[in-house]
Amino acid sequence: MGRDKARRLTGSRHFRQRMVLATLTSTPIAIEDIRAGDAGLRAHEVSLLRLIDKISDHHSFELNETGTKLRYKPGVIVGGRDLEHDCGVHRGIGYFLEPLILLGLFSRSPISIRLKGITNDTKDPSVDTFRMVTLHMLKHFGVPLEGLELKIENRGAPPLGGGEVHLRVPNINSTLTAANWIDEGMVKRIRGVTFSTRVSPQIENRILYAARGIFNKFIPDVHIFTDHRSGSSGGRSAGYGVSVVAETTTGCLISADATVSYPNIDEMSKESEKPELMSPEDLGEQVAKMLLDEVAQGGVVDSTHQGLLFILCALCPPDVSRVRVGQLTPHAIETLRNIRDFLDVKFIIKPDPNSNTVTLKCVGAGVKNLARKIS
């Protein structure tokens, strides 16, 4: 039953969004040709399925032997306390956080979960960015900040990880509320945090001096904290990095983060020699430039958060949401397609040539937290 009605998809692209949107709309999906010549689902994707399995009920997964075909019939997201999940070392914890908060909002009971793995890496937003920026986006959609929390217990850099965070996500009563969020404001201060694991704590000062040197040409109010970790709270690998946030007069948070570490296990085989790491000074300078690039874009969120912003808008009740972003990223454009396919929500996109920004407008699909009602 339902076997023929499943939405047919191809390939491994947008795996997380497809799983989340399928779950929130109770749409069964069948994904075929997942890396057909290349061993199908990867470890981090299987780990995401395990995570969804932990917080759901009445759902089913069917995976073929080679991992190239997946059938997923969503059930009810139940959430729960004292959960634990090992995110592995193929992708950062950030990979799992984005789908997890979306699912958590529409869960029967609030989620409280320990996630183990890599807290800071190059591919996924750092847990610091998540704590300082991503969580705060939700309040624009009527989610109270109480009960929303990310605690960084241990840090873990690639390749071996060893980090641990504790995430709490509240479940919403019924729906999100539509957002009219188009005033990006002016940057009033810059905040941030550096980290170092299993290296000299002095490295962090070198990162922040370099970054602050660039920021101070624009604004004096710059505070970057340090978070040196040694022993078990520093995980199992050496690494350092920095996450910075520009706060605007209208409460927008624009972020950038970067991490320096040895290659993760997927890349290790390619480069057998230990590569030379970027210096702390270069890293600080790089992240400062990244943030200024984002500030120049002029959106209410940075490029990394565009996709999540659009999904939140599309999940809202059938009221008009308006948001402003900088140049649309390829990921954001694909997100709009996934939203159209799963939620049947189309955005009206209006470029503003004066500021080089884009205003997007949509009427939400009115996704309700049905899990909560049933209980």
Partner: protein, 112 residues
């Protein structure tokens, strides 16, 4: 979009992944519309390019724009190829008014 993928995916299964990899090594960064995409798959799959060694196929794949790669990596983080040099005075001037230390009257004109 899903149905577009299905079309190109089902037409020539198996080896088509190889051809898909080679298509976009011609480097167009734009998302082709579905019609163009399908045509290209057909043209290329009849070429000798079907027989690309496994390693090379992967290399071509890495250069793919995410739009037509059904197995594109799932990143929300945006990677900019080249960062601006904000120590350049002219460039710095262009974002001065994005900060509270800049000209508020000019900033308020933004987007009007």
């Amino acid at each position: 979009e899903c149905s577009d993928e299905d079309v190109s995916g089902n037409e020539d299964s198996g080896d088509d992944h190889v051809s898909e990899g080679s298509i976009s090594s011609d480097g167009s960064g734009e998302a082709p519309d579905s019609a163009v995409d399908t045509n290209r798959v057909e043209e290329d799959s009849s070429d000798e390019e079907i027989f690309i060694p496994k390693g090379q196929k992967k290399q071509a794949k890495n250069e793919l724009p995410s739009f037509d790669d059904v197995d594109a990596e799932d990143y929300s983080k945006f990677f900019k190829a080249e960062l601006n040099d904000w120590s350049d005075e002219d460039l710095a001037k262009s974002i001065r008014d994005r900060f509270v230390t800049g000209d508020w009257s000019k900033a308020s004109l933004r987007g009007r």
